[in-house]
């Protein structure tokens, strides 16, 4: 069959048929399977699978569908830009399930992070409607679930994280394919392909296929020549070396035009490595002053839309920085170990936490009628104290503000489990009270619901109930 003239791409041919065949991702698998099995008795009717490209998100959905007997109705990012399309597919899904009786359908929305908040507002809202009213499991995938535009989706979906595949995982799959296809491939070559893929199994399989088609025998040399990045531009390290050591302005300027880095990335790299290159504080200050002025020009470009200004920004960030070493001119040529911009790493590492913090700030902002900045600067630090020192009281606040588990973790740190336990207790008591109230046929008071809320919230509530402005006077008189 494999020699038939119509070839199926390997990524399709070797797509897992069973859940067990999906490489690694045990945690995600068990979370997803238990969610799918208990559907529709689940807290959230949709699941959002997220992780880097080519780590098995879509594969898992298809394998699970295959194993549990679902059909998959798939939509791609480009399809669900229009609200009407999404409504159409939702209709189709519900109609089909009544028609064929038992066989269920999974609605798969691939790459939801492709819907941009600004242009496709209608699309995002239609997805939300679908998620809330669906009669079928909805599964979404995304590379980056922390995109602010996806915030409403995050709240309505079970979040399931996929890890980046290791080089070993990728090599193992490639080797299996080689055996199945009768390809002779050097181990070094497989390693090279896997390394280059950075955990993206799909791209690794595509690369392997591309190499194997012509050669049948894949060697490291072939892999290196064919898979080498086409650009011959200078990498960041070479760029920095050339720029700092420039004797003349034109040399410094040319170092950027020959670089892989664009001017914004270059700015970050220079900023990161300046204090490593220049040892004298006055030189350092001169360089920073130039960089700061360059940055001002970039800001002006954004404000005015005048790209002519870019030339001046480039002058200052390259030549301005290179000519700054006046006290210790030999620093320019000193060998320095350059490092990747730490800011980018820090931002990537803290992305999830920051998203949680921002969600928390908007909850507080709307409860207390303040800006999110005030919530972050003035309220969250105090909440953190309460959550770390008084878990019982913290649980009450968490209940009143309806905080998520992640938010509680953000505030309480290692105390999280304690707060969660008290919170469960409170919830249980609350539902008991509600049940008893029902048994005794006591009509529920409007305010009863708020009674357990955190005190700050409660003050507002009681004040409002007590009648606006009058009690307001009372406040300053008491």
């Amino acid at each position: 069959m494999s020699s038939s003239p119509r070839r199926v791409p390997w990524v399709v041919k070797y797509r897992p048929k069973r859940i067990a065949e999906v490489v690694n991702q045990d945690e995600a698998k068990s979370k997803f399977v238990s969610w799918l099995k208990s559907w529709p008795n689940v807290k959230k009717k949709a699941a959002l699978l997220y992780g880097p490209p080519g780590c098995g998100k879509t594969s898992l959905v298809e394998a699970a569908a295959n194993e549990f007997g679902y059909d998959v109705l798939e939509m791609n990012a480009s399809d669900f830009r229009r609200a009407s399309d999404i409504e159409r597919i939702a209709m189709r899904a519900s109609r089909a399930s009544t028609l064929f009786g038992k066989r269920g359908r999974i609605i798969l929305l691939d790459e939801v992070d492709g819907i941009s908040g600004r242009e496709d507002v209608g699309g995002l809202e239609a997805v939300l409607r679908l998620v809330r009213n669906t009669n079928n499991p909805v599964v979404m995938t995304a590379n980056d679930p922390w995109d602010p535009a996806l915030r409403p989706l995050r709240g309505n979906a079970e979040l399931i994280e996929f890890k980046r595949l290791s080089k070993r995982d990728v090599v193992r799959v490639l080797r299996r394919i080689c055996e199945a296809e009768n390809i002779i491939c050097e181990d070094d070559a497989l390693n090279y392909i896997a390394e280059k893929s950075e955990g993206d199994l799909r791209s690794a399989i595509n690369d392997l296929e591309a190499l194997a088609i012509g050669f049948r025998r894949v060697t490291l040399d072939v892999a290196k020549t064919l898979l080498r990045p086409r650009d011959r531009e200078h990498n960041p390290f070479e760029t920095l070396r050339n720029m700092f050591s420039a004797k003349y302005c034109w040399q410094a300027k040319i170092s950027l035009s020959q670089s892989q880095l664009d001017y914004e990335q270059a700015m970050l790299w220079i900023h990161e490595n300046l204090p490593n290159q220049y040892t004298d504080v006055e030189d350092l200050w001169r360089a920073y002053e130039a960089l700061s002025r360059a940055d001002v020009y970039l800001g002006r470009i954004v404000r005015s839309g005048d790209w002519d200004l870019l030339a001046y920004a480039v002058d200052l960030m390259t030549a301005g920085v290179a000519m700054a070493a006046q006290n210790n001119p030999r620093d320019k040529y000193r060998w320095t170990k350059y490092s990747f911009p730490q800011k980018l790493l820090l931002m990537a590492r803290t992305r999830e936490t920051r998203a949680v913090r921002d969600d928390l700030a908007s909850i507080i902002a709307s409860h207390l009628h303040v800006s999110t900045t005030t919530a972050k600067n003035d309220v969250i630090p105090l909440l953190k104290i309460i959550f770390t020192l008084n878990p019982k009281y913290a649980a009450k606040l968490a209940l009143g503000l309806k905080l998520s588990e992640k938010m509680i973790e953000f505030l309480a740190g290692p105390n999280k489990t304690l707060v969660m336990r008290y919170l469960e207790e409170l919830k249980r008591k609350q539902s008991e009270v509600a049940r008893k109230a029902e048994e005794h046929y006591v009509p529920r008071k409007e305010s009863g619901e708020n009674a357990e809320e955190g005190s700050k919230v409660k003050h507002r509530a009681t004040r409002k109930k007590g009648g606006g402005l009058l009690s307001y006077i009372g406040k300053s008189k008491q």
Partner: protein, 307 residues
């Protein structure tokens, strides 16, 4: 000079007559501006007030475009007979640029027949003249010490917290006439149990560590890389903006706890102002603040500072 009680009396007149002009509430934080606006809304509309009040925060709603769309949609919906007008509540209005305020002025005119605006600001002078002249301006003053303490006591009674009398005075001294801040501190201190002077100080110390001062010291001592690292963590983890950090730095460099030559304080203040201007012009927070730290390192060497 009008104080809050007289403001309240006038606001109650508006409720009685079911009519009011556009309003501008001005005054320092925590003096009851937002609370007064919400209370007024409640008196006008009762339990259903949220239907007729659009609450916006100018610091969060980026740009006049968002505000325009929201106001447009809000004022388009029909009013039932018994409701004379709807209210747009625009908090922190002094954070809007002059251009955005001009656009806001046009909005106020366009929807004047069925919508009233209540603008809230810390600094009325930052609100452009044409808007001020369209509004009845109410100036809120910082609360008196006895009022703040009485309110804190009342809350303690409601919440069944025990307290030392002096602890409440300390809270007032920390917060000044800012009641919101005082209540926030009270609530956190109460979480530690009986409220004493030491729990109050503990709470304030934990909430606002002297991180900014440490960063300044490191930079002045020539430890630029460490200072930059701490700065970066402060901004990313606490979510502080560059301007937030600059304002704190500005406070710190005039603090007696930082022994610097007096002339140096002035030089630094000037440069902080310059950096803030660059950020306002659209420059990047971290690069600008790093430039400031480099400058501090240089000044530290020139003045031979050892902290």
């Amino acid at each position: 000079m009008v104080n809050q009680e007289e403001i309240v009396k006038r606001l109650m007149k508006f409720v009685e007559e079911k009519n009011m002009p556009h309003l501008l509430f001005a005054g320092p934080p925590g003096t009851g501006k937002t609370t007064a606006a919400l209370a007024l809304s409640y008196d006008l509309y009762g339990e259903e007030w949220r239907k007729y009040v659009l609450e916006l925060n100018a610091s969060d709603e980026r740009g006049i475009g968002v505000i325009r769309t929201k106001v447009k949609e809000f004022s388009r919906s029909k009013l039932p007979g018994h409701v004379p007008f709807k209210i747009v509540l625009l908090d922190e209005a002094d954070n809007m640029t002059a251009d955005a305020q001009q656009a806001l002025r046009r909005l106020m005119e366009m929807y004047a027949d069925n919508t009233r605006f209540i603008l809230i600001a810390n600094y009325p002078s930052k609100i452009i003249e044409p808007i001020q002249s369209r509004c009845a301006v109410f100036r809120f003053t910082p609360l008196r010490k006895e009022d703040v303490i009485a309110r804190l006591k009342w809350i303690c009674e409601q919440e069944k917290c025990t307290y030392d009398e002096e602890a409440l005075e300390v809270i007032y001294e920390i917060g000044g006439g800012d009641l919101r801040r005082a209540i926030n501190i009270l609530q956190a201190a109460a979480a530690l149990g009986h409220i004493t002077i030491s729990t109050v100080y503990k709470v304030v110390g934990l909430a606002h560590p002297r991180e900014v001062r440490e960063i300044i010291k490191l930079a002045l001592n020539g430890k630029f890389v460490e200072a930059r690292e701490r700065l970066r963590n402060l901004m990313v983890n606490y979510g502080l903006s560059g301007t937030d950090v600059l304002k704190q730095m500005h406070r710190e460099i005039f603090s007696a706890d930082l022994p610097l030559p007096e002339e140096m304080r002035v030089i630094i203040a000037d440069y902080i102002g310059e950096i803030q201007f660059r950020i306002v012009e659209g420059a990047d927070d971290e690069i600008q603040l790093s430039a400031l730290l480099a400058r501090l390192a240089l000044l530290g060497r020139r003045y031979n500072i050892k902290l």
